[in-house]
Amino acid sequence: DDKAKKPRRDVEASSSPFMPMFENFRDELDEHHDRRERVIKASRDITAASKKIIFALQRVRKLNSEIPESIAGEVLGRSKGMKAQFDTIAPDLTGLNAWRYQRQISGGIQEYMEAVSFEHYLRNQRLIPLEESSRLLPETIPLTGDDYVLGIFDLVGELMRFAITTIATTGSLPSSSPSETDENTVGSRDVLQDLRSLRASFQALDTTSCGGTGLGKDVEKKMEVMKACVEKVETAVYGLIVRGRERPKGWVPDLLDDRAPVTVESY
């Protein structure tokens, strides 16, 4: 259909000496637009798949251990689909074009970062570094610092949801050593401590030089949201403590064992 139309040239047009040049431009621009459309569509699909992975992972209740099989299965399935998406657009994001469609792919990559870092955290209770995340993408697709940071910002929101939901359904804050009963084990960390580490790191990051581009544009709003998320968890933990400290006379609750040991951060 498209090919058939190209050779046709109407009367006036054919009298214009510039038509060959413009036909060349048209082909170039069409290629560009097609690439752009493909990238936008892939970005949208990757965003949707990432969100679905995050939704699935929000059903996890245990930290620092393997993801339950049913959830892991769903995550794996969607990850494969996403990988295919990335592979199909990898040629469109090569060399010169790696940055050309940055604004189009950025949303998808950020959401992907959010999903990847969430899964990594649930498994290892650690923040995935940029290099490691970058290795999960096809080689030609670069992971920019901006996209990494913006994805991690949103990770805080997911960790908040994870923490609050876990408190709501199990009555305790997720932490690294739920089996140990000693409240002050060195090295045992809970989500709140991790959130506070993230908060401190974000606040120390100087983005004033970024201006209105990428990070600079969004960081102020994201910072406020991030702080509010951490404070929501702080308030939830406060609720746990205040409740747990009340002892009806002469009653020693064995329920206490199920509760998270809320340790004092050591730094």
């Binding site: 606040q203 120390a204 004033t208 030089s209 702080e234 308030t235 205040v242 400290r245």
Partner: protein, 244 residues
């Protein structure tokens, strides 16, 4: 300039003068931006240190305060440079560029002082000050080594509005600290915070503020007062603190 008709009615110096002025202005702004970038980065450092107060029991706060004081000292030096550059132009012409950063420094000083750091001279320097204290605007000026509330001459200084903005930020931070103190097992600090914040609130209540940013933000005080009252309520209800 050669292409402006030379016999024209237009004096070319008009445009030359304007160009010079625009360039001077741009240079001053560039210098201000450079020093402000440093101040902001130092400010982040100080905040980062002070935020440890939320996870450190009061008894172990001394190292945090010492680190914060050292960091604030660096900022004081930078404020000195800012003051120097700023005095190249009228104070209020560029004030909008730095007021936010200056408010951040003041807030850091107020918080550090409230936590028991930055003991003033009269109190025996070196020794830890009493916690729960509000540094006055004069004391803040002394620490920053700049004049405050200047009215008779045009020089770099700290305005009352800036001090009060930082005070509102302090209240927000203390509301968070009340929550986290309970988590740390400290039930006394929320009571101390509650009394402090009520006193400050009473002061704000008698001000006749115009419809400016100060007024808008002062609405947040009432919200934080309520939040702290909720904490005291929770503790009282469970007999974790003595009845008042």
């Amino acid at each position: 300039m050669a292409n402006v008709s030379e016999t024209g009615m237009l004096d070319p110096r008009i445009f030359e003068d304007l160009q010079r002025k625009i360039d001077d202005d741009a240079e001053t702004r560039d210098q201000l931006r450079a020093i402000l970038q440093t101040i902001e980065r130092q400010g982040r450092q100080t905040q980062s240190i002070l935020s440890r107060a939320h996870s450190t029991p009061a008894a172990h706060l001394q190292p945090v305060l010492a680190a914060a004081e050292a960091s604030i000292k660096e900022q004081v030096e930078s404020i000195g440079k800012l003051s120097e550059i700023a005095s190249k132009g009228p104070y209020y012409k560029y004030n909008g560029l730095w007021t936010r950063d200056v408010q951040n420094v003041i807030f850091a000083i107020l918080l550090c002082g409230w936590l028991g750091g930055l003991a003033m001279e009269g109190e025996g320097e070196g020794k830890a000050a009493e916690a729960g204290k509000l540094l006055t605007i004069e004391e803040v000026g002394q620490i920053l080594n700049v004049p405050v509330n200047l009215k008779d001459r045009d020089a770099f200084h700290i305005t009352i509005e800036e001090y009060l903005q930082s005070l509102i930020t302090l209240i927000e931070e203390l509301a968070r600290l009340a929550i986290n103190s309970v988590t740390l097992g400290d039930y006394q600090r929320p009571l101390q915070i509650s009394q402090f914040v009520k006193d400050v609130h009473a002061g704000f209540q008698i001000l006749n503020l115009k419809n400016d940013s100060l007024r808008r933000r002062s609405d947040s005080i009432k919200y934080n007062v309520k939040k702290i009252e909720d904490v005291v309520y929770d503790l009282s209800l469970r007999n974790l603190v003595p009845r008042p």
